[in-house]
């Protein structure tokens, strides 16, 4: 079956909005990495009084949908308050673009992730907020909500593909996945899980078992 982009994706890819950097940004965040095939950096300028996003820019290393989703989330966030911008979801970003092919849904997740990380960066710096980013079952589950199963374009938690999350005293993590060993997306899902788990400080080994 042919994978096709919507006209809006094509338009945002051809003429993306808010590309570039901000000198002395109030906050910034990078998600993804060249080794994973896509990377996005978001820069923010926030009015300290109103807490509104005055300016937002992005730089993207990635495919057409990566660029298009970055373009749309920066459009959606511009002019919004920090609290409003936090509520932008990857599903919303995809809908605003007239939908994304399932295999490309992870681009929308990356875009929203980069936006939320930039907002967190701002909250840490300006509001002194602390975030619980420790290695807990709850946080692992939260991280796995960002792993998309490319065949259907939905995250592995919503799809109930994660059957068990275990963390032992030495911070070794076991994740049981209900995905067939011959599934063509298995490697991608594993890769994404590892990428998400690497972000936890002091994490031990990560074992992904198929059940």
């Amino acid at each position: 079956m042919a994978i096709k982009y919507s006209e809006l994706v094509i338009e945002h890819f051809k003429n993306p909005h808010n590309v570039g950097t901000i000198d002395n940004p109030d906050a910034e965040a990078t998600e993804g990495s060249p080794a994973c095939g896509d990377q996005l950096t978001v820069y923010l300028k926030v009015d300290p009084e109103t807490q509104k996003i005055e300016d937002i820019k992005f730089q993207s290393y990635g495919c057409a949908s990566n660029i298009a989703t970055a373009s749309i989330i920066t459009d959606l966030a511009l002019g919004k308050s920090i609290e409003e911008a936090k509520k932008i979801t990857w599903k919303q970003a995809s809908e605003e673009l007239g939908g994304l092919p399932p295999v490309k849904m992870h681009c929308s997740v990356l875009a929203v992730d980069a936006l939320r990380s930039a907002i967190k960066d701002w909250e840490k710096k300006n509001l002194g907020k602390q975030f619980d980013e420790s290695l807990t079952k709850k946080n692992v589950e939260k991280a796995l909500q960002k792993v998309i199963y490319g065949k259907v374009g939905v995250d592995i938690i919503s799809l109930k593909l994660v059957k068990y999350i275990g963390i032992d005293d030495e911070n070794n993590v076991v994740i049981e996945l209900a995905i067939g060993k011959d599934d063509s997306f298995l490697d991608d899902v594993k890769h994404e899980i590892m990428e998400r788990m690497e972000k936890f400080d002091n994490i031990g080994s990560v074992k992904i078992a198929l059940v």
Partner: protein, 393 residues
């Protein structure tokens, strides 16, 4: 898309040459008969098929009866590989293939492994050349077949069939050599006798022939079992309906490709050099993938543009009616980077930003120059958007 099409993806498929269509038309419209004996219509078609076999045989330095027309390259791969493995299974169940073979060949071997056959996959170096020491080590007393892709479709490396044959001949038993020459045929000279090749697969649509038409060469005396069964009118290994317009079209495409073979190859080399020189001089941080120009397939170039991603490049070119291919994971169905790039020691990033350009006889100098113009703009624009590579500039 108002601009004239520039199609640089012959390794995927090519357009039908007008002369090929002209040759096929009478057999689609009026000469719809089947081959047979005694009748005028039957013998006319039988002779047309014989003529087509002769045309192909001449280009491979072999005999017409060793040529079978199939329904594509994959069909030819299956008939040859499965047929040889099945026919010789009392002698052995081991085959040798490589980690850089074409997916259509690997798929046949994966199928055979499920049936109890065993394989050794030898590796290749960074340019895509097979490790011949590994080949030597891989040979077992029960090895029956070695099968390789002649021209690597991603890196353009031309495997040395003669050197492979020499190593296979060091074994105590006969080891058949099969070459998937779908990308090699019409681009590099193939002499099956000189190279010691026992079977070859060819695909007509890679050189301006009709789609769904393949050619199989099997050396006389090769122990091969039928894998398809039905009514055998002409080809023992390929029973069933005979695609006569396809056979005629394939033979015409062969004839056209070999009419001025040396001249055509020189033309490909000129285009390749032009594209390479222009790209590397005008676009910084471009890296050639695969062997240097003089060594690689003349109709093939693969370049990585650093800091950006290939699907985006491919789409930008598509907007301008220029068509190429990429090794980017983003353009694959399951988000995996190209396995040949990864198996030859490249990084995900190098595979990701790689673009493959492959030629047929309709590619022009003007087309190449327009491609470079558009690429120069595209790469600059995508790099402007990219967070990578900034510190170095």
């Amino acid at each position: 898309m108002s601009e004239k099409e520039v199609y640089l993806d012959s390794c995927k498929t090519t357009k039908l040459a007008p002369e090929v269509l002209d040759a096929m038309m009478p057999f689609l419209k009026n000469k719809y008969w089947y081959p047979g004996s005694f009748t005028s219509i039957g013998t006319e078609i039988a002779e047309v098929i014989e003529q087509a076999q002769q045309t192909v045989a001449k280009t491979l330095n072999t005999e017409p009866e060793e040529i079978t027309f199939t329904s594509g390259g994959t069909d030819a791969n299956n008939i040859a590989i499965q047929g040889i493995m099945q026919a010789n299974k009392e002698r052995g169940k081991h085959f040798i293939c490589s980690t850089v073979s074409h997916p259509s060949v690997l798929a046949v071997f994966q199928g055979l492994e499920k049936l109890g056959f065993e394989g050794t996959y030898i590796s290749a170096n960074k340019d895509g050349y097979l490790d011949l020491d590994e080949l030597r080590d891989a040979i077992r007393p029960d090895t029956v077949l070695a099968a390789f892709t002649h021209v690597n479709h991603i890196l353009g490396a031309v495997q040395d069939a003669k050197a492979i044959r020499k190593i296979l001949d060091e074994a105590d038993q006969k080891i058949y050599l099969f070459m998937d020459s779908c990308e090699a045929y019409t681009k590099v000279p193939i002499d099956v006798q000189d190279m010691g090749i026992d079977a070859i697969s060819i695909s007509a649509h890679k050189f301006n022939g009709p789609k769904g038409n393949g050619i199989l060469y099997t050396k006389k005396g090769t122990k091969i079992r039928q894998t398809q069964f039905g009514i055998t009118r002409v080809f023992k290994l390929k029973p069933g309906a005979i695609n006569i317009p396809g056979i005629v079209g394939s033979a015409k495409a062969v004839e056209l490709a070999f009419k001025d073979f040396d001249k055509t190859i020189a033309y490909y080399r000129e285009l390749q050099k032009l594209l390479y020189n222009q790209l590397l001089s005008r676009i910084p941080d471009s890296i050639l993938n695969g062997p240097p120009l003089g060594e690689r397939s003349p109709a093939h170039l693969n370049v990585t543009f650093r800091y950006i991603e290939g699907e985006a490049i491919m789409m930008m070119l598509d907007f301008e009616n220029i068509h190429v291919d990429t090794g980017s994971a983003c353009s694959s169905e399951n988000l995996k980077p190209n396995y040949i790039m990864m198996n030859t020691g490249r990084t995900h990033e190098e595979s990701h930003g790689s673009v493959r350009f492959t030629f047929d006889r309709f590619v022009t100098r003007e087309g190449i120059l327009r491609t470079v113009d558009v690429l120069e703009r595209t790469v600059a624009e995508l790099r402007r958007r990219s967070p990578l590579g900034k510190k170095e500039s």
